[in-house]
């Protein structure tokens, strides 16, 4: 059955329309609304004209807001670096040292913890790290000083987030390592390079796209995480998501909350673009 390009386009559009309409109504329209609200004047629970950039200048002028955004960015970057560094050897092991028919099983084992209830996993850390919790009671029992990790809110937030998003990092790195042409490695070693130098000069650069994808996949949800600062950090060290909640829901300040949301989207966007630009260097690489 021959299809003309015109009828193919029509069928395609018709087919995608339910999903597209749903997404436009429930995602595009809300995002646009937030963007518009962020430049409006607002009181409690309502928005009005005139248009203003005051919400954004408020964001700049009050140091506490800047501090929270900076802190979220730093926490997310530390978590991203930790997860990716810890995940790389695992992905390398599965890709290079596991029999091909066993690889799926290993990946499955690594991904299972990610699919088990996020709330339960985070809450468990609360029980482990908390005062008199599993960690400290164990340390006391074997005659050591309790560490009291929970009193260092930011540290415990970082530990919990790094654990929660760990499996996210393994998969993309694994995929890019799988694509590395094994004959290149043999060539490197035939030409007299040591295995370590071959890794540094061939395998690592070729797997960088996966590393950057992994970094991005971990960075985005961690920077916007709400549950961990609330539960593990005991709400003492709010991050961006908690700040947006306070403005939008507790204070009902729609314009200010929207400005935060837009600013954090911009922040995520800028970091994402930086990662992608960095990635270009390796995709175009070989030079």
């Amino acid at each position: 059955m021959a299809q003309t390009p015109g009828s193919e386009a029509r069928t395609g559009l018709k087919l995608i329309s339910p999903t597209a309409i749903f997404v436009i109504l429930l995602l595009a329209v809300p995002l646009a609304t937030v963007l518009i609200y962020s430049v409006m004047t607002g009181g409690r629970g309502n928005v009005s004209l005139p248009l203003t950039f005051e919400n954004y200048s408020e964001l700049w002028s009050k140091s506490v807001y800047g501090y929270i955004m900076f802190k979220s960015l730093m926490v997310a970057l530390v978590v991203t670096a930790t997860t990716v560094l810890l995940a790389y050897p695992v992905a390398y092991f599965v890709s290079f040292h596991v029999k091909p028919e066993r690889k799926s099983l290993w990946l499955f084992l690594i991904t299972i913890p990610f699919w088990t209830s996020y709330i339960i996993r985070v809450s468990l850390w609360f029980v482990i790290l908390g005062y008199g919790g599993v960690l400290d009671s164990t340390l006391t029992a074997i005659g050591l000083q309790p560490l009291n990790v929970a009193s260092y809110s930011i540290l415990s937030i970082i530990i919990v987030l790094a654990h929660a998003y760990a499996p996210f990092a393994v998969l993309p790195i694994f995929v890019s390592l799988e694509k590395v042409d094994r004959s290149l490695l043999e060539a490197g070693q035939d030409l007299g390079e040591s295995r370590w130098v071959t890794f540094l000069r061939v395998t690592l650069p070729l797997s960088m796209p996966g590393v950057i994808a992994a970094a991005l996949i971990v960075f985005i949800p961690t920077v916007g995480d709400y549950v961990t600062p609330e539960l593990v950090g005991d709400g003492k060290e709010p991050m961006i998501a908690n700040l947006i909640e306070t403005q939008l829901l507790k204070l009902q300040n729609f314009p200010q909350g929207s400005a935060f949301a837009v600013a954090s989207m911009l922040m995520v966007g800028i970091v994402a673009v930086a990662f992608v630009v960095w990635n270009r260097r390796f995709i175009g690489g070989g030079k």
Binding site: L13, I16, I110
Partner: protein, 269 residues
């Protein structure tokens, strides 16, 4: 395969780190003490009994089940439309439309939830379990599309053409040939969306109008130390459930690939 003892022990250690907290679940769920700490105090199944008799918990579980079933169904159906359209047809605006559909994957969930909330509040739409479903469908659809796209891609197009040549209509070809072949993908998508929705917290918390939903309920209960053991019992049940569901989803995915004659290229995502 070359042996790499250091890498192998590191990987096993890493797995231990990943599973560590989850392994604590059953240990303390059966521990006969309200205080979650070592040393263990003896065996009891009492926390499971306490969990089972908690009426609020039952309501929350019922609501969560209803939400997760609806979300999984709607997301998978929307996923089928989008995946089929993007694999099979070329049409104007395809890249931006698909980008928009997949966008929730790269947006912090809090932003999606808050944007929706602002619109719902401004439009005067009351929050309910229904608004939770709408929000979660938004989050789950990209996963459904990703799984279903690979299912549709591994489909041999000549089979469809053969059916058409033999006089079937476009719809009956889809129903008789395409649908059975991508069925494992549809099942996998349904199960994954179900799992995501069942666990999801942010949207359930902010778009839920205070109706009991399991993840929100668990989040609240962990603040009361004497509720923690029964929550650990609940956690044990949930983890077992999701492992069974995921094992089933993985089995379906592999069967789907084998059926379409493809080669297994790894896990989900």
């Amino acid at each position: 395969m070359k042996k790499a003892p250091i890498l192998q022990s590191y990987t096993l250690f890493y797995l231990l780190f990943l599973y560590g907290p989850i392994l604590l679940l059953p240990i303390f769920a059966f521990n006969d003490s309200r205080v979650v700490a070592f040393p263990l105090q003896g065996f009891t199944a009492g926390w499971f009994a306490e969990m089972a008799s908690d009426q609020n918990l039952r309501n929350a579980a019922k609501n969560s089940l209803m939400i997760a079933l609806s979300v999984a169904t709607i997301s998978t159906v929307l996923g089928i439309f989008a995946a089929r359209a993007s694999v099979r047809y070329r049409f104007p605006g395809k890249a931006p439309l698909m980008g928009m559909i997949m966008l929730p994957l790269v947006l912090p969930e809090m932003i999606v939830a808050m944007a929706l909330l602002v619109v719902l509040l401004s439009a005067g739409i009351p929050l309910s379990l229904f608004t939770v479903i709408l929000g979660q469908v938004l989050i789950c659809t990209p996963f459904a599309v990703a799984i279903l796209t690979s299912a549709f891609q591994s489909l041999d197009r000549s089979l469809e053409e053969a059916a058409m040549d033999l006089g079937e209509t476009a719809w009956s070809t889809f129903r008789l040939i395409v649908l059975p072949l991508v069925m494992p993908g549809i099942m996998a998508s349904f199960l994954i969306c179900f799992t995501i929705s069942f666990d999801e917290f942010i949207i359930a918390n902010f778009l839920g109008s205070g109706e009991p939903i399991l993840s929100v309920y668990i989040f609240g209960q962990f603040r009361f130390p004497n509720k923690v053991p029964s929550m650990l019992a609940l956690g044990t049940v949930l983890v077992c459930m999701s492992i069974i569901l995921l094992g089933f989803a993985e089995y379906m995915r592999r069967r789907g690939i084998a059926k379409a004659g493809g080669k297994d290229s790894g896990g989900f995502l």
